[in-house]
């Protein structure tokens, strides 16, 4: 048997392949693809059904499609990353996998990288489709789209990190799925809103004073994710927002790994 890190990585690759097979043969992938296709169809077909069709301005076209990216990434994290660890315990497949000569770090790495690859591949594909639509309809692609793509990939890292952390804590896949969705869609934005309101000095006059300068909770994941869309229309600190999202991903993944390593069957 090959020794050391090379063999650990080889085993991670084997786990990753199996995890990808699970995703591709599972109902969650069908559900996810169904949702993505529905969103794409609605954005593309509705403007033609209700009026003059899509705008001829590449920036406007891309803004329309990109405004849904955060939601689709969030759904991907919920459907894939949130079940990757917990399902091994709930479905008792851990009794087969964990009793083999394989380190838990290799299992974790294989599983996390499989969901991450699915998430990033989906984002890449989505942006490619949007670019194609923009080329066909408006004859060009907005140059800021690449920055938005980079930020969307960083958001995948951030959200999938949070999802795998929840997956390492929970005992049931269904609970993990719901909690991941609720945390990413509601809890984090609520926390951000509370922080912003609390730390904005003129917050009491927020409805009467249009010039109020809101506290910038740039270090919150959901706030940083606003840059995916924002970068298309305003000045965005791409490096800072990217770092924030990656930091969320790395920190939550690190905690998830510690919990997973200590978790007993």
């Amino acid at each position: 048997m090959k020794e050391g890190v090379a063999d650990d990585l080889r085993q991670s690759y084997v786990v990753m392949k199996n995890e990808m097979t699970k995703f591709f043969r599972g109902k969650r992938m069908l559900l996810f693809l169904g949702l993505v296709v529905t969103v794409l169809l609605l954005i593309t077909v509705l403007p033609y059904a209700l009026g003059d069709g899509l705008s001829k301005d590449p920036k406007e076209i891309i803004q329309t499609y990109i405004s849904f990216v955060y939601l689709l990434v969030l759904l991907a994290a919920t459907l894939f990353a949130s079940v990757t660890i917990v399902s091994e315990y709930e479905e008792r497949t851990a009794l087969i996998l964990f009793t083999r000569p394989i380190k838990k770090s290799s299992i974790f790495l294989g599983k996390f990288s499989a969901s991450l690859i699915i998430g990033i591949a989906f984002v890449g594909l989505y942006y490619l489709l949007v670019a194609l639509i923009s080329l066909i309809v408006a004859g060009g692609v907005d140059s800021e789209m690449a920055k938005s793509l980079l930020l969307a990939v960083m958001y995948v890292i951030g959200t999938f990190g949070v999802a795998i952390l929840i997956s390492s804590i929970m005992k049931k896949a269904s609970t993990s799925t719901i909690i991941t969705f609720v945390i990413l869609l509601m809890i984090l934005p609520i926390i951000s809103a509370v922080i912003i309101v609390s730390l904005t000095p003129e917050s009491i006059d927020v409805f009467t004073n249009p010039d109020v300068v809101f506290y910038d909770a740039w270090w919150m994941l959901d706030q940083a994710s606003n840059a995916i869309y924002g970068v298309l229309s305003t000045t965005v600190n791409v490096a800072r927002e990217s770092l924030v999202m990656v930091a969320w991903g790395l920190a939550s993944t690190a905690v998830a790994f510690i919990l997973f390593k200590r978790k007993e069957f």
């Binding site: 048997m1 090959k2 063999d7 080889r10 085993q11 084997v14 786990v15 199996n18 097979t21 699970k22 043969r25 599972g26 479905e91 008792r92 497949t93 851990a94 009794l95 087969i96 996998l97 964990f98 009793t99 083999r100 000569p101 394989i102 380190k103 007993e264 069957f265």
Partner: protein, 314 residues
Amino acid sequence: MTGEYPIEIAGLRKEYGQFVAVDNLDLSIKKNSFTGLLGPNGAGKSTTLKILTNLINATSGSAHLNGVDIAKDPKKALMGVGTVVETPEFYLYLTPRETFRYIGEIVGMSTEAIASETDEILEKVKMTEWADKKLGTFSKGMRQRVALGQALLNDPSVIILDEPTSGLDPRGMAEVREILKNLRNETKDLTVLMSSHMLHEVSDLCDRVAIVNHGKLLIHDDIGKVIDKSGVRTIFVKVLGEPNGDVIGKISGLPNVMSAERYGNDIEVRFKGEIAEQAEFFKAVDVLGIKVYSLSESDNGLESTYLDLIKESR
């Protein structure tokens, strides 16, 4: 010592809060033996096997597989070890062939080795015709046969089985037992540690037995020696008419009789003693004037020994 004992457990302890599941357990499993691990519910059998298979960590003590400490280097310790813990579930989207490939790739087997071993093992566990069907459609018994099959991949020198027939219907149990029996008869360099609730299963399959209770080892030896050591036998006494309380009471009072209970139309007597004492017992029954038409010793001496040891350890 390591070569002689592929599984070595020393001072093993596992606590869950105040509850001690395994209490300073010492157990060394002889090379090439087929050892049954017996004990009542909560005796610490599954906990011990879960520690051995790296599913849980011991509070203290050590467990070695082929000389490697499972806590310090689980990957190395589990090389060459096949496991079936409880009734595992499979990746239901895979077929048995794909499952074997997955496990084979994890343990580092070549593609050719996986392919050839897969066919051989599927034949052994009688799953050849189901090799390419999704596991999601299988019965529990079929899944357990696949579980046994994956444990045989890469020619393991040690196999750890945790209640391999638990939850199966009688046919499933018989199939799994037959596979294990064939394994015992056909494989030379193989050490098996198998926990079970079923005494007749252990009697049938194993050459050695370890009995645990409250996380402690009560006895560990060849099955024959364990039975002889305790000297406890079960004798079935058949009397004319229905055995009443008076007759049972008289038998209970005889020398060396540990207990006498009605068992259908028989009286089940648990008796401690050698052949000479047994002869005295038969004579004493006759002297009492009880109309006995049959006296027979149970062929499952392990059951009497087990019950005796468990009772003593309460």
